[in-house]
């Protein structure tokens, strides 16, 4: 080896040591993954949204939080792999299905009744293993310039009719769309769902990359209808400076129609991690402050009574319909995907 390459090697080795040292200082303190004093929260909800909320929590309670962000499902699977040696104290999930899976594996502590009672029974675990933190409803978003409100369909099943041919936008790979299909399977049965999806597909719906793209197309009048979640419209309105600056409007299918499924994001404490700090975090999420945060930042429904939310044109939480399904059971996504694949809606 010549001199230059030796020097290069020495340089690289030094850099490696420095890099190790730098990385090492990041994950201080503690002698293991769980050695830290801070409350460890696995969050399946996006950092952009949750980081400010965690800041508020730390400010209010003085409890430090170390988050790990990831997809809700991936984190749930990671928690299942980690078992009782998980470093995590709290799991914050985007949907009830991931919490349901952990609950089933016995991975969650039972929450105190006072915490659970903050939220309607429909939006929490029947066994008390997790509690919902915010709700979202599936809606039909439409463009009033193209469609008069009076002629809106009575059910999501009507969208397979000739009047809607080529006129409905949707986001087939979006988790909420898939949850809607799962909700339909659970409430209306496999056969009816298969018939609906086949007819829906034959009716030439327009597929989009995500819910935001669907809303944009409806708002611009490119297509009259779209199947999305309720809050996209209000987020857009907030950006545009008010709902009157936006053309599109939300519509809820009446009654227990599967097209108006209400799903929740929720939180649970990992088994054996029922510290006062963890409890304080969960309580903070269902406190007035936490609920107001969700209402203002995400335009989701707060689940605690008395917390105001401005959702012009939508009924309050108590009057929301949707299919009557156990949210923990919305985890049978495998069959849903196979079905979507079968009818070609991917």
């Amino acid at each position: 080896m010549n001199r230059t390459s030796r020097r290069l090697l020495a340089g690289l080795a030094t850099a490696a040591l420095l890099a190790t040292a730098a990385c090492g200082s990041d994950d201080e303190p503690g002698e293991g993954a769980s050695g830290s004093d801070a409350l460890i929260v696995y969050s399946g909800r996006n950092e952009t949204l949750i980081a400010p909320l965690i800041e508020q929590f730390t400010k209010a309670t003085g409890i430090e939080v170390t988050p790990r962000y990831g997809g809700s499902a991936e984190l749930a699977a990671q928690l299942l792999e980690e078992g009782d040696r998980t470093p995590a104290d709290v799991f914050l999930s985007q949907d009830a299905g991931a919490l349901g899976a952990l609950e089933e594996a016995g991975g969650l502590e039972t929450l105190p009744q006072t915490t659970l009672d903050r939220v309607p029974a429909k939006y929490r675990s029947a066994e008390g293993a997790w509690v919902g933190t915010s709700g979202r409803s599936r809606v039909l978003v439409y463009n009033p310039d193209l469609v008069p409100a009076a002629s809106l369909p009575k059910s999501v099943f009507d969208l397979t009719g000739p009047a809607y041919k080529g006129k409905v936008g949707y986001a087939p790979t979006n988790a909420s769309f898939q949850a809607f299909v799962t909700g339909m399977r659970v409430s209306a049965g496999e056969e009816r769902t298969r018939e609906f999806l086949t007819a829906f597909q034959a009716n030439e719906p327009q597929s989009f990359e995500g819910n935001v793209a669907v809303l944009e197309a409806v708002d611009a009048g490119t297509i009259p209808f779209g199947l999305i979640n309720h809050y996209y419209l209000y987020e857009r309105a907030a950006e545009a400076g008010g709902l009157d600056q936006v053309t599109a409007r939300n519509y809820l299918f009446p009654g227990t129609d599967p097209g108006s499924l209400v799903n929740v994001a929720g939180v649970g404490i990992l088994d054996g991690k029922g510290s006062t700090d963890a409890q304080a975090f969960v309580d903070f999420l269902v406190s007035e402050q936490g609920q107001t945060f969700f209402a203002e930042q995400t335009k989701e429904y707060p689940l605690v009574a008395g917390v105001p939310v401005e959702l012009e044109g939508l009924p309050p939480l108590e009057q929301l319909g949707g299919p009557d399904v156990d949210l923990s059971q919305l985890e049978s996504l495998d069959e849903t995907l196979a079905l979507l694949d079968e009818v070609g809606l991917t």
């Binding site: 080896m1 010549n2 390459s5 690289l12 850099a15 490696a16 890099a19 190790t20 730098a22 990385c23 090492g24 990041d26 994950d27 002698e31 293991g32 993954a33 830290s36 460890i40 996006n46 950092e47 952009t48 949204l49 170390t66 988050p67 790990r68 962000y69 990831g70 997809g71 499902a73 991936e74 749930a76 699977a77 990671q78 299942l80 792999e81 980690e82 078992g83 040696r85 998980t86 470093p87 991931a98 899976a101 952990l102 087939p172 790979t173 597929s207 989009f208 990359e209 995500g210 935001v212 950006e239 985890e331 049978s332 996504l333 495998d334 849903t336 995907l337 196979a338 694949d341 991917t346």
Partner: protein, 543 residues
């Protein structure tokens, strides 16, 4: 005719009989009977063991619910259909990459393409673009591209350098004698290339093609954004849907089986020929082929490819940054993420390369069963989606290395398992190109195996080892699923921050992170391109 051509194609191979005898005597020859030196064997076995770690987990998880479940998962109609779909995608991407890679390699090394040194560097740069960035870029300009075509375009545009780089390196080093003899026997330039040069490129093409194929099989970013229902998507959704890890593990094992078959094919197509050059003096400079009338089409083609593979993602990044309504970039956060990314990727590259050296050198020098097995073991993790490797290491670290769990070493280990073949291939290729005779002489002069390794083999293979390290570095920078699950609590890399921003559809917020990722990767890619170019001794031909 073929027989005549065979000789120059393998120019420099000494008389087989005499050579084998000599090599066996010094214990270094490519004979299966002599035992490889322990200095190489022991670390190589360790490396192979590390590479096989995910198998432990996959087998435990796959069979915990009994053979019945395994059969159910394997026999599902959807499993077979999606595997075939993915194999079709992987083979078409590989084919396209071979054509583009060999074509570009030839144009940039052997033709009088204007500015070919620059092109040699530019053509390597797509390696710096993660598939999920490229896919987002394409779909934002051409939404109708979603589907198999989009997945094909993105994967091809991002991965052809895996073929281009080794082929270009081989082309530059190739002794022109073979082609000259073929020409003197009356073959046209194309025939001479096809019959004298192409066979010499076979190992490089096979190795590069295998990397591309496995990349296409295990990629999740491009296929999910392009909404192409590929095999990896089944694995992801079975974690995502039922939270039942058994089906995912069974499917992971299936992917390992496919990999073993592909690696075996690669080994077969590599052949037994010797590719090193032994003779007096160095190889002479290559002759440059004048493109003549084909010059303009060649320039257009090269420019077009660069536009598709680099222009589209860069244009999208610029566009997203321009339309950004989220205002200013959080510079400290960006810098910190960049530092973390570079740190992790650097450690990943360093450890992976160190572990790859013994396996690569053994594979280059020995044709016995054990070195082959050890080398092939290194490939196991490469076709597995990052998330499967991540869960394997979660499982193992939580049980057996808890103090290291969710700390840098376990993340680095994941990078090793995932990207080992990139380094092993590079080490093997460059070690195979340096003549074994030099080691034989050192041995004959009384040097111990370790000394031979340190003073002869490694210095000769150093450029190739460096190139392998750079490849691993680049790939670590782009890695997302394993990094998300295994990175130390509270740390953030460019890739994870980008993921966060795209999660709330804030493309403008994602753009600076994506741009930093591409720029930081472009520098080593540039060095990689220049390194292959540095061996170029051919003067540019003035038009």
């Amino acid at each position: 005719m073929t027989q005549v051509l065979d000789a120059p194609a393998r120019v420099g191979t000494p008389h087989p009989g005499r050579r084998r005898a000599l090599l066996q005597r010094v214990g270094l020859g490519p004979s299966g009977s002599s035992r490889p030196p322990l200095v190489l064997l022991v670390p190589a076995v360790v490396t192979a063991g590390v590479a096989l770690l995910p198998l432990v987990y996959l087998v435990v998880r796959a069979f915990e619910e009994g053979l019945g479940v395994v059969g159910d998962v394997l026999l599902r109609e959807r499993t077979a259909r999606l595997l075939l779909r993915s194999l079709a995608l992987a083979s078409s991407v590989t084919l396209a990459c071979l054509v583009i890679g060999v074509g570009l390699a030839w144009l940039t090394t052997r033709s009088d393409l204007p500015g070919r040194r620059t092109w040699a560097v530019v053509a390597a740069l797509p390696l710096a673009v993660p598939t999920y960035v490229a896919a987002f870029a394409w779909i934002s300009f051409l939404p109708e591209l979603a589907g198999p075509v989009g997945a094909f375009v993105v994967l091809t545009a991002c991965s052809y350098p895996y073929v281009l780089l080794p082929v270009a390196a081989t082309l530059r080093r190739l002794d022109p004698a073979g082609e000259e003899v073929a020409r003197s026997l009356g073959l046209s330039p194309w025939q001479a290339f096809r019959r004298a040069t192409l066979p010499q490129l076979r190992p490089a093409m096979a190795a590069g093609g295998l990397l591309v194929a496995l990349y296409a099989l295990s990629d999740f970013g491009a296929v999910s954004i392009m909404r192409f229902d590929a095999f990896t998507r089944v694995i992801y959704t079975s974690y995502r849907s039922s939270f039942d890890r058994t089906p995912a593990a069974v499917l992971g094992l299936l992917l390992v089986a496919v990999t073993v078959v592909l690696v075996w094919f690669e080994g077969r197509s590599r052949g037994r020929a010797s590719y090193s050059r032994v003779g007096s003096g160095g190889a002479r400079a290559q002759t440059t082929v004048r493109l003549g009338l084909l010059r303009l089409p060649a320039v257009l083609l090269t420019t077009g490819l660069a536009g598709l593979s680099l222009g589209v993602p860069v244009a999208a990044l610029v566009y997203w940054s321009a339309v950004g309504d989220r205002g200013q970039v959080d510079l400290p956060a960006l810098l910190s993420a960049a530092g973390t990314s570079v740190g992790f990727a650097f450690l990943g590259a360093l450890v992976t390369t160190l572990l790859a050296v013994p396996v690569g050198v053994l594979a280059a020098r020995r044709s016995g069963r054990l070195p082959q097995l050890l080398e092939r073991a290194a490939w196991v993790g490469h076709a597995l989606p990052g998330i499967v490797v991540a869960f394997s290491l979660v499982f193992l670290a939580v049980r057996y290395a808890y103090p290291l769990y969710q700390r840098t070493p376990v993340l680095v280990l994941a990078y090793v398992v995932l990207f080992l073949p990139l380094a092993v291939g590079a080490v093997r290729a460059s070690a195979a190109q340096s003549p074994p005779a030099l080691e034989e002489v050192a041995r004959a002069a009384g040097a111990r195996p370790l000394e031979v390794l340190r003073r002869v083999t490694l210095p000769l293979a150093a450029p190739g080892i460096g190139a392998g390290a750079v490849l691993v570095f680049l790939t670590c920078m782009k890695e997302l699923p394993a990094t998300l699950l295994l990175q130390p609590l509270g740390s953030a890399t460019l890739a994870t921050q980008m993921w966060t921003a795209t999660g709330v559809a804030a493309y403008s917020a994602a753009a600076p992170y994506a741009a930093a990722l591409v720029l930081l990767s472009a520098l080593p890619t540039y060095l990689l391109g220049v390194r292959t170019g540095a061996l170029d001794r051919t003067p540019e031909v003035s038009p």
